[in-house]
């Protein structure tokens, strides 16, 4: 089995689930070593978080050193071995008080793995601001499980108000960890909007405490990545009777998977999918025209190889797109999360007598779809000629242009990357 410790696990998923509330502030009860990386990510995952513009917003020289350690997100109680033995209740109280004064809509408190072993009582701190206390993330679990645990805990702290008046849909299963999630949300909302379906909010990504309170007003919850959203959707169904829709074709990436996703949603709310499908058809035409030109140059991707290392719902959609639409052949697939999707697609290729390995990082391939770190590492190692990031971290630190990871634009961006690798990089000429 491939080893991939670069990918986020449940602790990070949990923290990002809490950081997904735009006006929340989360405390890590643990050492600084557990804080720096997630705090850096939490900053970078929001392109436009309020209060992050201009020199004053991130002035390292004026950020409080204690607890924040010059990072504006995820202050921590900087436990060390002494506190692991003696406990650190007083420090937690002090930090809670400071965070409380900052006036967030929600406060999260999460034990680091080490802190969870000492039995610190997180219920000893609290005040008027709704507070989510999480004793520990599932140790060594998946990012999706941690993320959903966080959102479910948030719903306990801020129970959505019941309402009979339902309107629009909520997206669920998209987290701030997902590559360019803001653009993806806009892209998917745009497509559904063409069908007259309004997207109210994304449960778990960029929603505010006001959004949380109102989140029982959707007529349907639309699952984007089931690994990150099914449990949340089920909870809304059980508690508020809101049904949810899960596409059988995985994430909405690739023309076929995207169309299935659109149709699934429209069927559930009895809307006409034609406008969105018409838009997708335009994309198909562009793609087909491009491929026709490449055909003239004998540069079609048919028969070229690909590997995918990504969450299951994404892996399924991408693998089917590259094989069914472009005729590329898989050589290795691996999903650290949502493994049932990986199994489904393996069965698909097994039925076609295509052997597929399970180590995309070390299997020679023309094209690797994963996150940018793994793509670069594979290119440096020489196991991949080209690649494309569909998951965080992405290829760019900054982008002013929209770059959705899913939807029609996401599909066309993936297509561009594949075709440019095929056209430009070949193992023999």
């Amino acid at each position: 089995m491939p080893l991939n410790y670069e990918r986020p696990d449940s602790f990070l998923g949990l923290l990002m689930g809490l950081e997904g509330v735009a006006d929340a502030s989360t405390i890590i009860h643990g050492p600084t070593g557990c804080k720096y990386y997630p705090a850096s990510l939490a900053e970078s995952f929001y392109r436009f978080r309020p209060g992050t513009r201009g020199p004053a917003a991130r002035n390292m020289l004026s950020l409080p050193p204690q607890y924040f350690f010059t990072q504006p997100r995820l202050p921590c109680t900087y436990l060390d071995s002494g506190q692991f033995v003696q406990g650190a209740g007083e420090r937690l109280k002090d930090l809670y008080g400071k965070v409380e004064k900052m006036g967030p809509g929600l406060i999260g408190i999460v034990n680091s793995p080490g802190a969870s072993l000492i039995g610190e009582d997180l219920t000893a701190v609290g005040g008027k601001i709704p507070t989510v206390r999480i004793d520990h993330a599932a140790y060594s679990g998946t990012a999706g499980s941690g993320f959903q645990d966080a959102v479910l805990a948030i719903l306990d702290a801020i129970p959505p108000q019941r309402t009979a008046a339902k309107h629009g849909v909520d997206l669920v299963g998209l987290s701030i960890m997902h590559l360019n999630w803001e653009d993806t949300c806009a892209e998917l909302s745009g497509l559904l909007g063409r069908c007259g379906i309004r997207v109210n909010r994304v449960l778990g990504a960029g929603w505010s405490t006001a959004d949380i309170s109102q989140s029982a007003d959707a007529e349907l919850n639309v699952v984007v990545h089931p690994e990150y959203g099914v449990r949340i959707a089920q909870s809304y169904q059980e508690r508020f009777g809101i049904p949810y829709a899960v596409s059988p074709a995985g994430a909405p990436l690739g023309f076929d998977s995207l169309e299935t996703w659109i149709k699934t949603v429209c069927t559930a709310v009895k809307a006409d999918p034609s406008p969105a499908l018409a838009e997708i058809k335009k994309g198909r035409k562009r793609a087909a025209a491009t491929l026709s030109v490449l055909e003239a140059y004998h540069l079609l991707p048919r028969g070229r190889t690909f590997s995918v290392e990504a969450d299951g719902s994404t892996l399924y959609a991408v693998a089917r797109f590259l094989y069914d639409y472009l005729g590329m052949i898989p050589v290795a697939l691996h999903s650290p999360e949502g493994t049932e999707w990986e199994q489904r697609v393996r069965d698909y290729f097994t039925a076609r007598h295509i052997p597929v390995g399970d180590d995309p990082q070390h299997t020679d391939t023309d094209f690797l779809v994963s996150d940018q770190s793994l793509v670069v590492a594979a290119k440096v190692r020489g196991t991949a000629l080209g690649g494309f990031a569909v998951e965080s971290p992405g290829p760019q630190l900054v982008h002013a242009t929209a770059a959705p990871a899913l939807g029609l634009e996401g599909t066309l961006r993936l297509l561009d990357a594949v075709l440019n690798t095929v056209a430009d990089r070949q193992r023999f000429r």
Partner: protein, 719 residues
């Protein structure tokens, strides 16, 4: 409303016997009781279920998949329909029983124990509240009443007093009473009564010593069941009545001195200072000799030693790294490697080759490993890698294995004995128990050399480079620049420490004639001290520093060591001419302009030298006093004009900059000053090489040529 009570008391005092008999007495009255044993020994409820042993909650947690778990699998029905649960726990000496209690309670809660119709839940808790986990029944949402079992022995009363102290941390007004369980000492009742009076809590039940308890235990029954007509059984019924009545008292407790005076009639003298000094002297000898820095008591640790050690180990090709901890610890560390590779590729510099494919493995500790101990999974991982042909290992531990006491060293020793040819560097950092990130870097450097260095014939013209920062974007280019300069003097690079090298280089580290420091930092210093202490390797006084003056200083020092003064003099002259030529254009454009400099790094000579060579007039220069960097480098001596400031003075510094209003501000981070002051970014890590400053000057030149205010700021004003 259903009640919840907890029975506490010193280990072996008879809590489980009291608890199970109380449950029986309550059940006789038709009270629906659930008794939960909170002790790894899992013997609390045996007498209620005919002496049988039931599956513990924690074993169930370990062996049963989440979607297959059912409450009924871990609840036994006992005497007169009472319900029995055993939390369980790890074997003695391994794992974390306190964590186990927390996990057991969480599992019971998640399986819906709160929905079972009960009149009373009874928690029978391990003897001493030794950590937060065992206090879970005391928490506000658990036991509403706490009963304390004690005999008249001093240590039992001491434990009872501790329990009162622990309860006072939560809701103190819920002590139900003291249950006196006699040992048969005729005077003990008096002591218990004195204690009860002193703390204001009554004795609500008294049990005489009786051999019949043993008889009942042999039968697998409670006393109440086996001897229902006995006086002792009556006492249990009275206790049951008192519990149902539910009277509660505040948890007052005595100081140690008061307790000793009350019970023992004496005060224990404080150990004279002289004796403590002996203990401290002995302890000092065992302290870690190569500490990252002298940490002021309570000063926060920056990062963790686990991460620091792993970052070094993963840069060494030929080494297999086993990370013992939860996956999140592995992720946080390995992403450093991945980020380096990605950053290097995207920004056009070289990173560590091994970062692109680190040979790292994690034990991915899960909940059951936390509870039951992680040495076995670590052993299995190690054996698996040996089976794949790996021979050279580093094992690094995160926080949890340290907290639960995994004995990694013994595992490593046994493995090495069983597999000749295998070498294991054990870096028991235990997260940040060993210290901060830098401590981990030092420990890895020390540990890898101690484990893998082999005696080698000296290479009289070679040099070790000590202090490489593998995460730095300039690491490889710096090493190359230094290597080129060494070559100019007819010398060779032997080994880089702590990172970059292959394991073969580390094996041959003692070959070098001398060490050369790069990044004159605390960790560099400590590694050099170590190499001197254990291998007699000397270190040159002048470290590699960036900038012209810094480069000439170390070149001359190196040349003197190797008798290459002539070559060094010629090289220095050449470098000076090159630098002067490179700074011609900046000087032409920048002469007379003013600048301020903020640095968070005390190695500022190269910046000051570049600013001067560019003709800039420095009107203000400050160095933030952050303790992590360059111990022993006095900025005021090194570069006159730089003022050390504390982080708390930063606001004042920014005000000064606004007042001085320089043309240029050199700063490592964006400063909230007048936006018309051009801010040029200073790297946090000073590069090696004589011309490092020239690249800075490029940015100054271009920045000064740009419009006074860029067009986007007008758009930004409307946001």
């Amino acid at each position: 409303m259903a009640r919840k009570i907890a029975i506490y008391g010193k280990g072996g005092i008879g809590k489980s016997t009291i608890s199970s008999n109380l449950t029986a007495a309550l059940s006789d009255r038709g009270i629906k009781v659930m008794q939960i044993g909170c002790d790894p020994k899992h013997d609390s409820t045996r007498a209620l279920i005919g002496g049988k042993v039931q599956q513990t909650v924690l074993d169930y947690l370990r062996n049963t998949k989440p979607d297959a778990r059912r409450l009924g699998d871990i609840v036994a029905v006992g005497y007169k329909g009472c319900l029995c649960v055993e939390a369980g726990g790890p074997e003695p000496g391994v794992g974390c029983a306190g964590r186990g209690i927390i996990s057991a309670f969480e599992l019971l809660d998640s399986l819906g124990v709160g929905t079972v119709p009960l009149d009373l839940t009874l928690y029978d808790v391990l003897g001493d509240v030794v950590c937060g986990g065992f206090a879970v029944p005391l928490r506000n949402d658990n036991a509403d009443t706490v009963y304390i079992v004690t005999s008249g022995e001093f240590m039992s009363i001491y434990a009872a007093n501790n329990i009162l102290r622990g309860t006072a941390n939560y809701n103190p007004d819920r002590i139900g009473g003291i249950i006196f369980n006699s040992r048969g000492d005729p005077e003990e009742e008096g002591r218990v009564e004195a204690f009860a009076k002193a703390v204001g809590i009554p004795i609500i039940a008294r049990f005489a010593r009786s051999n019949l308890f043993m008889a009942a235990e042999k039968e697998g029954k409670t006393f109440v069941e086996l001897y229902p007509d006995s006086a002792i059984a009556d006492s249990f019924r009275e206790l049951a009545a008192a519990v149902l009545k539910g009277q509660r008292y505040a948890a007052h407790f005595l100081t140690e001195g008061e307790l000793e005076s009350l019970i023992l009639g004496r005060k224990t003298p404080i150990v004279p200072l002289a004796k403590l000094a002996e203990v401290q002297a002995a302890a000092a000898a065992k302290q870690r000799p190569y500490s990252a820095r002298t940490t002021a008591f309570g000063a926060p640790l920056n990062g963790c030693a686990f991460s620091g050690a792993c970052s070094v180990c993963s840069s060494v090709s030929g080494l297999t790294v086993l990370m013992h901890g939860p996956r999140s610890c592995a992720e946080y560390t390995v992403q450093l490697d991945a980020n380096c590779t990605r950053g290097a590729c995207q920004r056009g510099y070289e990173s560590m080759p091994s970062f692109a494919d680190p040979d790292v493995h994690s034990t991915d500790m899960k909940e059951d490993t936390m509870i039951f101990g992680g040495t076995k999974p670590l052993g299995a991982l190690l054996e698996g890698q040996i089976g794949r042909g790996r021979r050279d290992f580093a094992i690094v531990t995160a926080c949890p294995p340290g907290i639960i006491g995994d004995d990694v060293r013994s595992l490593a020793e046994n493995t090495v004995r069983a597999h000749p040819g295998v070498k294991i560097a054990v870096l028991d950092e235990d997260g940040n128990a060993a210290g901060d990130f830098m401590q981990g870097v030092i420990d890895a450097g020390v540990g890898l050399v101690r484990t893998f260095a082999a005696p080698s014939a000296k290479d009289p013209e070679s040099v070790n480079l000590i202090g490489t920062k593998t995460m730095s974007s300039s690491c490889r280019s710096d090493v190359q620049a230094i290597t080129d300069l060494l070559t100019s003097l007819g010398l060779r690079m032997n080994c880089c420490l702590p990172g970059i090298s292959s394991l073969d280089d580390i094996r041959g580290i003692t070959r070098a004639a001398v060490n050369l420091k790069i990044n004159p930092d605390v960790f560099t210093d400590r590694l050099c001290v170590f190499l001197h202490d254990e291998y007699g390797l000397e270190t040159l006084a002048a470290p590699v520093r960036g900038g012209l003056a810094g480069t000439c200083a170390w070149l001359n020092d190196l040349a003197a060591r190797f008798g290459r003064e002539k070559e060094a003099a010629a090289l220095e002259e050449k470098l000076k001419q090159q630098f002067a030529a490179l700074m011609t254009e900046p000087r032409a454009r920048l002469a007379g302009k003013t600048c301020c400099i903020i640095s968070v790094n005390r190695d500022v000579k190269w910046i000051a030298e570049t600013a001067a060579a560019a003709g800039l007039r420095t009107v203000g220069a400050w160095v933030e006093n952050r303790p992590d960097y360059i111990d022993g480098l006095d900025v005021a001596d090194d570069v006159p004009g730089f003022v050390p400031v504390e982080p708390s003075e930063n606001a004042w510094v920014l005000q000064e900059i606004d007042r001085l209003h320089p043309d240029l501000l050199l700063t490592p981070v964006t400063a909230a000053v007048d936006p018309h002051i051009y801010q040029s970014k200073l790297p946090l890590n000073p590069p090696a090489g004589p011309f490092a400053g020239r690249l800075l000057a490029e940015d100054w030149l271009r920045g000064m040529l740009a419009p006074a205010e860029e067009g986007w700021r007008t758009d930004a004003a409307e946001l």
